[in-house]
């Protein structure tokens, strides 16, 4: 699930950049062609409208799995503000423990809950850009067509920001990468193979 998500998300981001280039929101920002997916807007749109199904179906399965098995409640909640501050303190003093990678610290919990919510909103703003008339009620929530475009752009920026931090930190703790490739350590009933 994680890797299907990663691949479809990279396609969505890369093709999104190519689509963005056709009518930029910020005059100073164009994405160089070598880092985009799809040839021209027509190619990029094809990729975007292909990968969106992969991302959505995979994402819905993930959410259903997370809620049904109680994984979200067990792994991502509760997030206590006190623990959050303690974790940040530990991190700043380079004392963060990585002995048990199956247990998320408060910062991780917050970021993972955050990124899930951001991706859900990103899918919604994507629908609002795609169908501003058929889904005019949704479009109105994002303050119309240009508002939806901007929201979709900001969502992309947040996801890319998360991605950079997420990958950098995973590389700092190499054993997490092994766990992500093999399905992770077996922890009794808590065996998680996503």
């Amino acid at each position: 699930m994680h890797w299907v998500n990663a691949l479809s998300m990279l396609i969505m981001i890369g093709s999104g950049w190519e689509i963005y280039n056709d009518e930029v929101i910020f005059g100073w920002l164009h994405f160089p062609h070598w880092m985009t997916v799809g040839d021209g807007p027509e190619g990029a749109l094809q990729w975007h409208f292909f990968a969106m199904w992969v991302l959505m179906i995979n994402g819905l399965c993930y959410l259903a799995y997370g809620f049904a098995t109680g994984r979200f409640r067990r792994k991502l909640l509760p997030i206590s503000p006190r623990e959050l501050i303690a974790t940040i303190g530990d991190a700043l003093r380079f004392k963060l423990g990585h002995d048990d990678i199956t247990h998320y610290n408060a910062v991780q919990k917050l970021l993972y809950v955050g990124i899930i919510l951001i991706i859900v909103v990103q899918v919604l703003s994507g629908f609002a850009v795609w169908k501003p008339i058929q889904l005019s009620e949704l479009s109105a929530l994002f303050l119309g067509f240009q508002g939806s475009r901007l929201a979709h752009f900001v969502g992309m920026a947040l996801i890319v920001g998360f991605l950079l931090v997420h990958v950098a930190l995973a590389l700092l703790v190499p054993k997490t990468i092994g766990a992500m490739l093999t399905g992770g350590p077996v922890v009794g009933d808590d065996n998680d193979t996503h």
């Binding site: 169908k131 058929q134 240009q146």
Partner: protein, 263 residues
Amino acid sequence: MSIKAPSSSIFRPKGGIDQSVLAEHKALLADINRRNILRGAVSLGALTMLTGCSVTRTEPVQAVLKAMSQFNDKVQALLFRPDHLAPTYREDQVVKPPRFNAYYDIEDIVPVDAASWKLELSGLIQDKRAWTAPQIYALPEQEWIIRHICVEGWDYIGQWSDVNLRHFLERIGADLTAKYVSFKCADDYYGSIDMATALHPQTILATKYAREPITDPFGFPLRLRTATKLGFKNPKWITSMEVTNTYPGGYFEDRGFNWFSGI
């Protein structure tokens, strides 16, 4: 790879092939295969970022993307709400003149001569007589102040008026159960829409913008304006209309853009 018959090249060795060479290459081949599989698995993610190379252009990939685009046509037809009206706007919000866009520059427009212009009709239509501009002007007029959204991402509010397309199709005895309404233009542009969109209340054959005749760059004398499609689905300088069950495609659609392109 096809197997070629031995050539009569002078470089072809006369004697048999040394078996030790074959054994050596066999091992090499096995190694290369294993490496390729590993590399393929690992670089799947990286490949998606390398768009400069041929990955996105190879035929099987294109076939999948095309099939997906056709699937998305069907999804969009399901999402389409025939009676759901697009938001309309106030007259003071109308942008004048409208924003120009075509596959060529505004200087390259060849104006249409209204005196000799006719709208030709063909396909599943009972009364196929051609229409002149004055005949169309005499039809009941309808006005919509609606948002024009381009596939590129820009938009503006425009004020379009003349005959409602459903009204016109009924008047000429078109088969309203047909799948497509297709248009050809005075330039070599062409396009088509689904019947459900053609019958939507906010789909009109427009001759006026902001209560004045449409000017040359924007489709004089006749263009399509539908509130539920992207800009390029609204052909300008229309010279003929056909009602058909055969997929007609379109100028940009045949170059890879999604056909339904509803908004």
